[in-house]
Symmetry: C2
Subunit: 471 residues, 2 copies
Amino acid sequence: VFKVVESLKTFFEPKSVAIIGASRTPGKAGYGVMKNLLDNEYAGSIYPVNPNVDEVLGYKAYASVKDLPEAPDVAIIIIPASATVEAVRECAEKGVKAVVIASGGFAEVDEYGARLQKEIVRIAGSSGMRVIGPNTSGIISTPSKFTSTFFPLGKIRRGTVAYIAQTGNFATHTMKWILTSEYYGVSRVIGLGNKCDVDDADALEYLGEDPETRVICMYLEGFKNGRRLLEVASKVSKKKPIIALKAGYTTAGMRATLSHTASLASHNSIVDAAFKQAGIVRVQYYTDLINAAKALAFQPLPSGNRVAILAPSGAMGVIAADACETSGLKVANLSEQTLRHLQSISPNWIKVGNPIDIWAAVQIQGLEQGYRLGMEAALNDENVDAVISILMLTSEHASVNLEFIQELCEQHPHKPVLISITGDRELFDKAKVFLESRSIPVYLPVEDACRVLAIMYKCKQAMIRRGLRPY
Amino acid sequence: VFKVVESLKTFFEPKSVAIIGASRTPGKAGYGVMKNLLDNEYAGSIYPVNPNVDEVLGYKAYASVKDLPEAPDVAIIIIPASATVEAVRECAEKGVKAVVIASGGFAEVDEYGARLQKEIVRIAGSSGMRVIGPNTSGIISTPSKFTSTFFPLGKIRRGTVAYIAQTGNFATHTMKWILTSEYYGVSRVIGLGNKCDVDDADALEYLGEDPETRVICMYLEGFKNGRRLLEVASKVSKKKPIIALKAGYTTAGMRATLSHTASLASHNSIVDAAFKQAGIVRVQYYTDLINAAKALAFQPLPSGNRVAILAPSGAMGVIAADACETSGLKVANLSEQTLRHLQSISPNWIKVGNPIDIWAAVQIQGLEQGYRLGMEAALNDENVDAVISILMLTSEHASVNLEFIQELCEQHPHKPVLISITGDRELFDKAKVFLESRSIPVYLPVEDACRVLAIMYKCKQAMIRRGLRPY
């Protein structure tokens, strides 16, 4: 165990890196890697390897790995598949500890590619060198300001969420999405690609020990060593929430994974049972890996599944109630005291219950005070484990101060609060920045908030099943 | 039948309107209605009714409906429940044909309110006056530039989508959402409220005959006269797609509808069967009523369920394949000819299939040409009924011209095209405006696009079942 974790650390805390296939041409992958390292202010030594040029982006270039002044901790290989085997051999001879192979054209394509991949495994195995890939844009490690991805990302936000992905999807377009549309940060990203060596179990084991990582999200298409993955997960899920999307769960999806990453099929119900036993919470949508990640990073896990819902219209309350119950949550039975208090802040033409139709109170109290009093009453109720509050924001409320939500969260550190917003799109965007920079997760459709809270509850249940004592 | 449609027409094509409870105070509901009428440039006569003022927003005010110079086509009542009965009586005596009652405090609250509501029904029934509400912000009719809603909406975009909603939710915050975040328009919106008179069946019958309406979306919590609703739907669904969210389908949701609109419970599986028989396509999420509406308004219905998927990464392809198959679509078996063509535009390190991993081709052809050739090949394939194309947009492609998608749609008028976008959020926003103003629907998570296409396919199937001849 220790050896796996140590050998993976090299990938994420490298003091030096060689980019085999570095390029001076914008748009080329070998340029993209260099650019990302510079944009993220990677502080280690950078060695571009390219026999045709003297320097790349101001760094002296070398004709071959053999010529480098030292054995770099990590080598990133981005040259055609056919040339990759030789590059791997040179890395092994030089004493490189960790290699990320971005190139495609291996087992995912044809027999020839599969043979090349086998040869890489043989070389790496005999030298003790670890390999991530091939067929992946690789890794991100924000604490080390390091990445192997060629996809133009700019500065990557540091945080506590880690991603393990079948391929480079979380080190490329999805990360771009997260960086431009969300406000949470990542600790490590591991795009496994064809998993010729480092696999999901290794990655999970490393992240389990990683002090920078609090939440682990996985996108998987297949398992290389399912048994070991589950063994590792059983240990890690005691300490950290693990959520996973197992894609390729339909016939068409399975066929697609075959040509994508040569993953083998696995029975859906077996995956369900195995995940459950290992404490991995299975999610259904790709966006859950973003939506749930931020709530898990921002908010405490709920002690139970009893939710108070604040809605600005009866219809939104009904929808939220349906969505909560469908996903395994309970609409809380508010205490008599809470109901009396809520009724006292509302006009008498409304009969208050849960969902709490808060707009009536807002008409008397104003938006800020109405929601504050309503959410406070809900959070103070011992029958309530979590609050989902749907704000309605229109130009009338453009200047409303939402700081009270942060205050309420601080006063109730064990009860998660999730916000949904309806009304004016521009105000949604503004409120999302404001609240998420204060660690309060915001969702557009309330159904997303309900599903995310259900995932948080399942993470808590998984921890309890794996031995965590409920408080 | 004719009588119902004619009597409802008055609500949507009024030549004059009285606002009973009109107010000069911004923030008050009686002000909001006036403001919305002015913002939408309603061209009929406007009669504010308020005994305490001389004029409202430049319009002469009257102390009572009795004093009006003519019987207005529509009266909007926004005064406390207790005063509403008298106002309704005066409307009946004056000869008003149609009344919208916005006020709450009736059957949804208590026995007293229920008695008031009964009295309103009695008065209206004996005079032949139709009533929408109470407990609703009412209606929108863009062809007549008319609305009864008090919620600040500004100018409402005209289009072909109609909403029937249990309450005012689609005439208030959801409409604000659609107006600020989407690019399709609405024809009519009918918020039914307590349905003391006009109900979902009446509304559906009217919309079925309405030349302005091509797509009908319903948000329902309960049924007043389920049998008639289904009878009407059976006829309308031959001509126009009807999608419906039946909320309150869980125990908690049902409880919430009780206090919201006093709706009675109905068995979920019975609703399923009845909807299916009547050609109503049931949807699960509130956002489906927005996401599917725009695709139904923008694009043709697919002839079958065989989808070609273009994805910028293998993972997104797998996710889309899973989402399609889960929702009842088939990932199309592309013809040999199409596969050969796709392979010829791609580098040889990728093996092309469906989902089509188009990013490989993009690296050779450029983004515009890669997607154009890929989508064209898919649309030309007789084994393909619809195309879902996931664009990856990053700053590198900020200047890409997406007009080719419109051209492809025009060349294939019987095959729907739905777009999903990953990458840079700002470019998503830009592409969405560009494409949706050209009637090409855009979705953020590809899973939404897949679900929407499945809804479109179900609408087509419903029409075929109801007697439409497949072409």
